[in-house]
């Protein structure tokens, strides 16, 4: 214990007496540890954001994507592969109360990117060709005017509902309702502006326009299929049974006998969350690996500096041995020093990483995201542990080298 405190005091003293070099030495550790802290904090922040958004959407939603997928991975459509098996007829079949009694509302989607033009202003935006049921399915409401109704949807009326951001950009505050907006030269009358929603799953919901499904499919996209269907179940308890109903309906619709041959996939939000976390986890693993590399580079720097230190202090080692220090004493002293150096680096890294994470959280909140600033105690413990460990692992070789020095040689060393 006495040796412990004394070693610590001497190690800190040795560190402080060479401030410049100590700082350079710990830079790698600082970067590595700050990296770990930032990654964990941003990961937790992003996850909390996605989760809060998804739960805002409502937990009793089902999504149907074209194309088969296995349980864990995302379906092919996520990667931009065109699958054309899902159609409006499928959506209509699912909406049939006799076939799926717990389905409250169904909305089919076909989507793309367009330029919306009003007079001489224009804006690039996303458009969703969807159904009148959209606001009920998605839990969203209209700020001004109204959403298009079933009649307009059926006849393919040239009407459009703007996301709040699109309305702002095109009209800049002047009233939008009743104006005519052009998309691909076709005129659409603005009948509504949506309430501001923010982002859901990294997609800005306010940078969107909505038009009736058939108009969008035929006149703008020139397709007959859907990109996805969303439906709302009356109660979360009926989610799984409804999922079965929906799968059954779609198999009948598509003439599929064996579930192995499914050309669609039904997802609930838990799946969506899983897919998202598997993607963010992958990203995180990559970033953690980068932080790990920084730590290894930092560790090699430590080893280098410790070797220099041992060489510089050869006489001191000889002296200590002449005063009765054993090999173990000398080894521990240098392990202690490198551990202290990296621990100091770890602390600086924790502070730096926390500051960066906090700044990101502030910016995200200013941008309107519900971003939680989370520094988990576990990540701090981990950072401290990892930095001490780096010091010890990379300090081992120099420390053993110091311990092995012959006291006579060391005392004669000039």
């Amino acid at each position: 214990m006495k040796e412990f405190f004394e070693s610590f005091r001497l190690a800190v003293g040795a560190l402080l007496s060479r401030k410049g070099r100590s700082f350079l030495t710990i830079l790698g550790i600082v970067i590595g540890v700050a990296g770990v802290i930032i990654i964990v904090a941003l990961g937790a922040g992003a996850q909390s954001l996605v989760l809060s958004q998804i739960t805002n959407l409502g937990t009793n939603l089902l999504g149907i994507l074209p194309g088969k997928s296995n349980e864990t991975g995302p379906p092919a459509a996520v990667f931009g592969v065109q699958v054309t098996t899902l159609t409006a007829a499928d959506a209509a079949a699912i909406a049939d109360k006799n076939r799926a009694p717990h389905v409250m509302a169904v909305a089919a989607f076909a989507r793309g990117n367009v330029t919306a033009v009003w007079r001489d202003s224009s804006v690039d935006t996303n458009f969703s060709a969807t159904q009148a049921s959209f606001p009920r399915v998605q839990n969203v409401s209209v700020e001004q005017g109204r959403f298009f109704d079933e009649r307009e949807e059926r006849v393919g009326a040239p009407v459009i509902v703007l996301g709040s951001e699109v309305a702002d950009e095109l009209f800049g505050g002047s009233p939008a309702i009743g104006e005519v907006v052009k998309i691909k030269q076709l005129p659409f009358q603005v009948i509504g502006v949506m309430k501001k929603q923010g982002s859901i799953a990294f997609e800005n919901q306010d940078d969107q326009v909505f038009i009736p499904l058939t108009v969008g499919q035929r006149q703008i996209l020139g397709i007959n299929h859907l990109q996805f269907i969303r439906l709302k179940v009356d109660d979360a308890a009926n989610l799984q049974s409804t999922r079965g109903d929906v799968e059954q309906i779609l198999r009948e619709q598509h003439g599929i006998l064996d579930s192995d041959n499914d050309d669609f996939s039904v997802r609930d939000l838990a799946d969506a969350i899983n897919v998202l976390t598997s993607i963010t986890d992958g990203l995180r693993l990559f970033l953690v690996a980068m932080a790990g590399i920084a730590l290894v580079v930092g560790g090699i720097g430590i080893m280098n500096i410790m070797l220099v230190t041992v060489a510089e202090r050869t006489r001191e080692i000889g002296l200590r041995k002449s005063l009765g220090a054993t090999k173990g004493n000398i080894r521990n002293q240098f392990l202690f020093e490198s551990g202290t150096v990296t621990l100091a680096g770890g602390f600086v890294g924790i502070i730096f990483g926390s500051l960066v994470s906090y700044a990101v959280a502030l910016v995200a909140r200013r941008l309107g995201y519900e971003w939680a600033f989370i520094i988990s105690p576990l990540s701090i413990i981990m950072a401290v542990g990892v930095s001490i460990l780096t010091g010890i692992v990379f300090g081992l070789y120099p420390a053993f080298k110091a311990a092995k020095l012959d006291p006579i040689e060391a005392l004669r060393y000039e």
Binding site: K2, E3, E6, L10, G13, A14, S17, R315, E316, G318, L319, R320, K321, S322, L323, G324, A325, T326, K327, G328, N329, P407, I408, L411
Partner: protein, 242 residues
């Protein structure tokens, strides 16, 4: 006659470099009793330091016997020797070997760090007082003079109250005045009962001891008491705190 502290018989030390074997010490036979003040004198390269390192368990002889208080020391492992060295032996070097960027007190405390006995800071302060350096204990080692540095090094050698103090050219880096002060302290310590073994190549320094061992080409060529009329008596003037 005091009890025998150190006894070496037929001690040899060779250094092998490639094919050349250098015999540094040849057939050394030496007996030193507790309480002696022995000056080992000889020209440069005669093996004085090598002998001192072996006597202080820092080095091992190539052959021969070494009994310390009647115990064969060559059988012990390095770590055991380190512990014995810590408690029984104090070294004073020509080049002081104080730690830089460290206070005098911390330097003197250093042997306590490796000690199995629990002595507190008081022992270090006392050691500093006995070399008249207590007023400098919070100075950093680069803030004191050469003479003060060597006195600090003596205090460090004293702190564990060793049986024997080895001093290798302790005045070699000092002006004559500070050198004399250092020798005074060693003489006083000897009068207080410490065994002192001094290594030097100067007669003027060697004559502070009570016995003179002459070394030449690794062999002892003379071993005799230093008569009182030759002996330097400066130490007697120093305060006698027993």
């Amino acid at each position: 006659m005091e009890k025998i502290l150190i006894e070496v018989k037929h001690l040899h030390k060779d250094y092998k470099t490639e094919d050349v074997v250098t015999s540094v010490l040849r057939d050394i036979n030496l007996t030193i009793a507790s309480g002696e003040f022995v000056s080992i004198m000889g020209p440069s390269g005669s093996g004085k330091s090598t002998l001192m390192h072996i006597l202080g368990f820092l080095d091992r002889p190539t052959s021969g016997d070494y009994l310390f208080e009647g115990i064969n020391m060559l059988e012990f492992e390095d770590d055991t020797l380190a512990a014995i060295r810590n408690e029984r032996i104090g070294f004073v070097f020509q080049s002081f070997n104080l730690l830089p960027r460290t206070t005098v007190l911390d330097n003197v405390k250093l042997p306590l760090l490796y000690s199995r006995k629990s002595r507190d800071e008081q022992a270090a302060v006392k050691a500093l007082e006995s070399v008249g350096l207590a007023h400098r204990m919070n100075y950093f080692t680069n803030q004191i003079s050469g003479g003060e540095k060597q006195r600090a090094a003596i205090a460090r050698a004293l702190v564990n109250n060793p049986s024997v103090i080895f001093a290798d050219e302790p005045t070699g880096n000092l002006d004559s005045r500070s050198g004399k002060a250092v020798m005074d302290i060693l003489q006083t310590l000897n009068e207080q009962g410490h065994t002192i073994i001094l290594v030097t190549h100067e007669m003027d320094t060697a004559r502070h001891g009570k016995r003179l061992v002459r070394l030449k080409d690794g062999q002892i060529v003379g071993d005799s008491a230093i008569p009182d009329r030759i002996r330097a008596h400066d130490g007697v003037e120093l305060q006698k705190t027993k």
